[in-house]
């Protein structure tokens, strides 16, 4: 195998990372919207979806963006203007900050935190502030109800999410996401290393809880009480229009993509292929081409996970606010605690 050693200067690396970051946020958002929101949903409803803009309507998203950019940026009279304008930015920025810790290849990472998991979970909840602020500053009762519901829900589901990840952290013995990827791909199942050792096998319960919590964090059906377009008229987004609504919209799907990235890193082996296939033993031996191949693998896994998220979204009705709180506190949290306990006992025993 040819080992290409390319030395990229530091400024070049920085530039690549910035561009990569933007791509890592916008690309998933775009593909999710087109592939799932436009096409999969339409096909599930026996229709074709947008077909006019571009071949098979593939340029529809650009048409939509163009439409939103043309629209007037309306600010309600009684709104708290500065905060009102800030809210969508907070939501989007939190997405950008979140993607920072996700590794896409042996060297294709943005930052290599040693406490990456911790950081990701902390930053992930910043968007709550954006949503709450949006709901409050809109000076609209529906928005307020939506914002309050969102705050309650996101806090409630933050907890099972954190607890579900703890199992992975225990098993990998590290909070660094890169280490977690390596641990999965160098692992073996009872000596057989054909597929490495993705944590989804041992941590299936954790994976399930994590995905449910992600669904709730993203306020997708069945946990979309804060948006609930048929009763709260889109909740905290009610008053937003034009450009700011677009940011919320991108933020929603970009966050879905980024959470799917994180889930694939934590449970599905991330960017890696099982190292045994190529006889690698550790991260240092991984070939350089994985820096190109890794992101593609990640993208595939991300698409599968978001596909499931969207599939559920198009099929289910939504929970009531008190029901979803009850579900989080009475079902998910005890389950994830039990998961941690079992994982810890098994880990210590082995």
């Amino acid at each position: 195998m040819l080992h290409v050693a390319v030395e990229i200067p530091y400024w070049g690396q920085s530039l690549l990372r910035v561009l990569g970051g933007i791509a890592a946020v916008l690309l998933p958002a775009g593909t999710i919207v087109y592939l799932f929101l436009f096409k999969m949903m339409s096909f599930m409803q026996s229709r074709l979806g947008p077909m006019e803009a571009g071949p098979f309507g593939s340029m529809q998203l650009f048409a939509e963006v163009g439409k939103w950019l043309q629209k007037e940026d309306i600010i309600p009279e009684n709104a708290d203007e500065r905060i009102y304008k800030m809210a969508p930015i907070i939501v989007l920025v939190s997405t950008f900050l979140l993607v920072v810790v996700v590794p896409f290849g042996p060297d294709a990472w943005f930052t290599n935190f040693s406490a990456g998991v911790f950081y990701a979970l902390a930053i992930g909840s910043v968007s709550v502030i954006g949503i709450l602020v949006a709901g409050w500053s809109s000076a609209n009762k529906y928005s307020l109800l939506g914002g309050l519901r969102a705050a309650g829900q996101l806090i409630a589901y933050e907890l099972p999410m954190v607890l579900a990840v703890v199992g992975v952290v225990i098993q990998a013995g590290s909070m660094n996401l890169q280490d977690i990827v390596v641990a999965q791909n160098t692992g073996s199942i009872f000596g057989w290393d054909g597929i490495g050792f993705p944590f989804v096998i041992t941590q299936f319960l954790g994976f399930l809880i994590f995905m449910i919590a992600v669904q709730a964090e993203l306020t997708q059906v069945p946990f979309d009480m804060p948006i609930a377009e048929s009763e709260l008229v889109s909740g905290y987004m009610t008053e937003y229009s034009g450009f700011r609504f677009l940011i919320f919209f991108i933020g929603e799907f970009a966050t879905a993509g980024v959470f799917a990235f994180i889930a694939s890193v934590l449970f599905l082996g991330g960017w890696g292929v099982p190292f045994a296939w190529f006889g690698w033993d550790s991260l240092d031996q991984v070939d350089n081409w994985m820096n190109i191949g890794g992101p593609l693998i990640m993208l595939t896994k991300m698409m599968v996970l978001t596909g499931i998220i969207m599939w559920v979204r198009f099929s289910y009705p939504r929970f009531r606010e008190d029901q979803l709180q009850r579900f989080a506190w009475k079902v998910l949290i005890p389950l994830s605690l039990a998961n941690i306990a079992v994982t810890a006992i098994v880990k210590v025993a082995i």
Binding site: M44, Q45, L48, W311, V312
Partner: protein, 161 residues
Amino acid sequence: MPKVPGLVKGLGVTMGTLFRTVKEGADTVQYPHAKEAPPVRARGVIALREDNCTACMLCARSCPDWCIYIEGHKQLAPPRRAGGKPRQVNHLDRFDIDYALCMYCGICVEVCPFDALFWSPEYEYSEPKIADLLHDKTKLGEWMETVPEAPELEAGAEKKK
């Protein structure tokens, strides 16, 4: 057999529909490129056969919305039989239907005793200006081309007198 939870079944329904759409095509029609043919009896637009109209005002009177406007004058027509007296007939000057008011009930077509009004299933005549929806007698006459034959009736039906 254990009961399949409803949550899983629901996912199955949507996925099944997705595959069916991929395999058999969508149930929708891409409108300007492809069109569905409305049934023969569809009440799309009213066509007028001007020669048959005698300006008897029956349709205008039976219209619940008062959307038919008729004006006419009397004139002499050549006699039916050679050597007969010239007949006095009502000649139609104006026959307007205001489609902005019309509620497509079809009473006018039904009451017409001289078979001057017909339904056509044509539906593409929307206008940017509401005033253009007032169709005059030439425009109503043009719709005559689109009037289909009356359909055959289902078994057991009695022929109309």
